[in-house]
Symmetry: C2
Subunit: 386 residues, 2 copies
DNA sequence: TGACTATTGTTCAGGGGATGAACGAACTCG
DNA sequence: CGAGTTCGTTCATCCCCTGAACAATAGTCA
């Protein structure tokens, strides 16, 4: 049995089967009766559905777990680890990160490769070669997800990547170009949108609505509504980076591309912090070091960033009223360096509610997080009911 | 056949029947085949469903419309005008407005009554008396919707009205108190949320996602996502009034309740415009008159408001990426007095898109708009699938 | 005028899928 | 070992939707 046909096998599932499989993926191994309760179906239906999933090789029957309980022990169903393999890719201006995950979102393998230039064709070639290497003797993954900063819009029925600023790509048919090298479905996502979708599925207890704020070279957000990622009418939702927020702690910020001195970009991005801390571009780690050591200029830069992020979170909470907000990204240190200032900004921006009432989550940030999120989004796309 | 049992008859409908009725309500009279296409069902199903709706007295069979077309003429189905009557109520600090609408959202009757004080019990009594008067010999409407500025939250399983600033009400069980006087279901809505829901259904072509910005004594927004009103995890979504937006046209604004000099409230509300134009509180009409005559101070106040509204719209577009934005409210004149400044603020705040790409709608504002919106929301609540 | 085409609405047999009830299976407890 | 409990399966049933065939009603064209 080759693994390459898994995406067609999953695609052939009915709506009820998908819901059960999805429940297993999200909440882990469970007995049939618990599944029936959670999904809202009868035990009879679940018997039929689990048989389909078992026959398709998507699910395994685990050993009975009997924790000393009375009655017949439950036979837990679990996703079969090798039933599907998802390839997640994240492009930054300097590297391409790739991960392989299974149906449970667990990491199977990972790699990263530096990009010698920002040339699209070259970067594409390097990414495809790295993907082939990571896949090894697997001919095809079940689905491919690619995360990249920028706007993923649909033009002429095709997914086009636009305004990918840090890479300098604008108007490239990334999804199609990658799809020419594999029989698996390929989907491209805005990186912070992908983070939001992954956090919603695998970031602990499930929150909906959920807002995820990503702080890095830029700043953006992803919104999960009604348990689905909200990308907007044109795929442009979550662009909070240029919101004006006024002076922060009495100071103006770094001019952004639009000439603003007081938008989120002016304070809270990695380049803005670097400039505020007085270090050279690319020396963000040095800025963090100086702030930890107590150097006043560096501390002030991180405090302004923390306050700005607080206001950005407050704006999102005011507008969407989410169940939780997750803040992450490679530039998120300001929340740890100046937590009280972040809280101050949050309280200052909230309308009619206290900072205590906002549930803030802090997913640990690694650089492969975006790639894993892309893999999870590819899985979501495949498992979603269409 | 008494009309009072209509809400139970509608509540007893199945999901498919609701969808068909909803389609008729939203898009007007249609033939069965067109309905089947639009709802995505077979003609056979539609025959069965339409029979149920006809038997329930909810729809009528109109005369065949034959516009010279070939084939058997279609028998159009239409909602029966008297099949249901919805009572919509809007409380402001000075008046209570009431309207009666039918299944198509058409106005049947309306009235308004001044409130001598802001005392909750007195206002309640006046509203109920006015509602009884408007209903006349109808003993009960099919559903009641009440729109009011403030937060409609659920506490202890009950709908509670909080922070209704201009009325001074906080923590009142408005829905329960009104429900004690009628057998119809009563629902309370934030006023701008209600506007959003009504605009989505009866505001011309249907847009989703849709953002509605209401500019009046305060400023707020309502968001329609996936054809449903989004109220957030705690019923607090759409609070954009305290978003910081920085200095506007080089000027600071009126201090808001939180001490901000640069939030939307500082510039774009009726009181802020009054203060900026140098007229006495409550003399908004005079401010409009002076601006029309070209008085510089008044014009500047409306220009700042227009710019601020432009930024507020831009923030909403950036975050949600809606299909359209509707701007309305009793303080919306700034958009007509300074359209180019509004456009300037919009362009200034947008991230990665032009002002031309944003579809702006301008529903005509009458003071009974909120009450009609409340009636529509009551209908939505009754027709929604549960 | 009469055959022909086009479109609408209804009927009817059939099927897919969900379900409640009954039952067998597997385990604990006393 | 029997009683009690919980889990999974089977089966008859039901609900609802659908495709196909058919009747009804119009315009079109020779």
């Amino acid at each position: 049995m080759t693994i390459s046909a898994e995406h067609t096998r999953i695609a052939a599932l009915g709506a009820a089967e998908r819901r059960v499989l999805l429940e297993l993926v999200r909440r882990g191994p469970q007995s049939r009766v618990r599944l029936a309760e959670r999904v809202g179906m009868s035990r009879a239906s679940l018997t039929r559905i689990s048989r389909v999933l078992l026959d398709a090789g998507l699910v395994l029957e685990g050993e009975p777990e009997s924790p000393g309980a009375r009655g017949r022990p439950a036979e837990v169903l679990r996703p079969r680890p090798g039933a599907a393999v998802f390839l997640g890719v994240k492009y930054t201006a300097e590297h391409v990160y790739l991960v392989l995950t299974d149906l449970c979102g667990s990491l199977i393998a990972e790699t990263s490769t530096p990009l010698p230039s920002r040339d699209f064709d070259e970067a594409l070639e390097i990414g495809i070669a790295a993907g082939d290497g990571l896949l090894g003797d697997l001919d095809n993954p079940s689905a491919v997800g690619i995360a990249v900063a920028g706007d993923v819009v649909v033009e002429g029925g095709e997914s086009i990547l636009r305004r990918s600023g840090f890479l300098g790509w604008d108007g490239v048919p990334l999804a199609r170009r990658v799809a020419e090298h594999t029989s698996a479905p390929v989907t491209v996502f805005n990186d912070v949108n992908a983070l939001a979708g992954a956090q919603h599925w695998f970031g602990g207890p499930r929150h909906s609505p959920l807002v995820v704020l990503g702080v890095g070279a830029g700043i953006g957000s992803g919104i999960v509504l009604d348990d689905e990622l909200h990308v907007g009418a044109h795929g442009l939702a979550g662009r909070v980076g240029h919101s004006r927020i006024g002076a922060v702690l009495g100071a103006q910020g770094r001019p952004c591309a639009n000439g603003h001195l007081d938008c989120v970009h002016s304070f809270a991005t990695v380049p803005a912090i670097e400039e505020g801390a007085g270090v050279a571009p690319g020396e963000y780690a040095e800025a963090v070091r100086r702030a930890v050591l107590g150097e006043p200029g560096a501390r002030a830069a991180f405090e302004r960033a923390a306050f700005a992020v607080g206001i950005a979170v407050a704006d999102a909470v005011n507008a969407v009223d989410p169940d939780a907000v997750a803040v992450t990204g490679e530039g998120v240190h300001c929340l740890d360096l100046a937590p009280e200032v972040f809280r101050q900004g949050l309280a200052d921006g909230l309308e009619g509610r206290t900072a205590d009432s906002v549930r803030i989550e802090r997913p640990l940030f690694h650089f492969d997080l975006y790639a894993r999120a892309a893999a999870v989004m590819a899985m979501r796309e495949l498992l979603a009911e269409h």
